[in-house]
Symmetry: C2
Subunit: 210 residues, 2 copies
DNA sequence: TTGGTTTATTTACATTGTTAAGTAAATTTG
DNA sequence: CAAATTTACTTAACAATGTAAATAAACCAA
């Protein structure tokens, strides 16, 4: 079945071509300016050809959202080596902030935009990528609690809180709600890290009298 | 000049008609399904009439975003009577969560969607409504720090952190990213409140040995 | 070569935001 | 009151969009 294989490979190549072009447009012109026709122009196919590889526009966004999680995972892979769970949690947070601020378009698709989730509910399946990422957070939080680094509590709830915290910062920033707080662009990430620092300091259980 | 006055009043009435219709559509059919034509249909005018009252679609969204802040302010007006600043901060947080969850469309316009901010940067002016709301948060946080209810730190940074926290929860919830954490709809707000509770407990300075 | 399958394109349509031009009524001016 | 002008609105139209149907071209098995 060598021919079938080759065909499949070609099919995947064009899919990739479409996704790359979409992301390029997404980054350069913003979410609202990604159109099927521009994508088609960029890959030098007719607009309708795109529909041979993706059911509709939302499916393209869903695929990009997926790629975003892969990128994030890659960025996080070194963190497992950190032994101290609270330090690991802190670094995970920093990594999250960095990912969001340096890939706002992916972040947008992964955690803010509705379109990729539409696709998920439409297919009746779960948000696999997001859930596994959160799963890893939960492991670390659980370890923090078990080893007494942070106050005893429901790991589930604490994980949600931690995620909420970093997501709040990133999403405020990339949607332009932080300008009054942090007027200079290049200060946003540092300030967010300070904020995370404050957060971790506060949830850390300090030995009595320190 | 009674006639001029009456005319102005009529003009405002139609503006309100448009805004109400927009909000109705927004709530019932979602952000993406608000179209000028549907608005016009609803108020029984031609689509172009809308443009006599609003420069463009974004200006409608901006006005709605503004109304959202008014509603929020109204919801918060009782809070100033709370003397204990940490309790006040806690209640402000709860109120914020409640507002977001019971008015997701307004929340969307106020803190997530790009369009209203486009209008602001276009006009070269500031995000007045948002900034004053945040100002009130900052006052309470400052008081908390001064009176020793929470750890000493930069009020600016702490305010951003608090805001980030509650915003993170609300925006994850209304963009459907919390389903795995909290599968039952009606549990979302309670869980978010628990989360806020945990947060406040952690930032509160406890007397040594308690 | 023939007939079927895959892959792409050309047309086409409905929906969108928005503008330009036109019209009828209301108001002002003489 | 009659003429001029302003106001409030509509009709018609344009360009851009997502997407479907019809069609043509390329490819391959028989």
């Amino acid at each position: 079945m060598g021919i079938v294989e080759r065909k499949e490979k070609q099919k995947l190549e064009i899919r990739k071509l479409i996704l790359d072009a979409s992301m390029k447009l997404f980054v350069e012109e913003g979410f609202g300016n990604v159109t099927i026709r521009k994508i088609a122009d960029l890959i030098e196919y007719s607009p309708t050809t795109v529909y041979l590889y993706f059911k509709d526009k939302d499916e393209i966004f869903f695929s990009l959202h997926d790629i975003g999680f892969q990128k994030m995972e890659e960025m996080n892979k070194d963190l497992v080596t950190i032994n101290n769970p609270l330090l690991r949690l802190h670094k995970m947070g920093e990594s999250y902030l960095e990912f969001g601020m340096s890939n706002p378009e992916y972040y947008n698709l992964m955690f803010i935009q509705d379109e990729p989730m539409n696709k998920i509910t439409e297919l009746g399946c779960e948000w696999v990528k997001g859930d596994t990422a959160i799963g890893r957070l939960k492991e670390t939080v659980t370890e923090c609690i078990e080893k007494g680094y942070i106050m005893k509590g429901d790991p589930h709830l604490v994980s949600l809180s931690v995620w909420g915290f970093v997501h709040g910062l990133v999403s405020l920033a990339i949607r332009g709600r932080m300008e009054k707080f942090v007027p200079e662009m290049e200060m946003i990430l540092p300030v967010m890290k300070q904020s995370l620092n404050w957060f971790v300091n506060n949830i850390e259980v300090r030995p009595a009298g320190s």
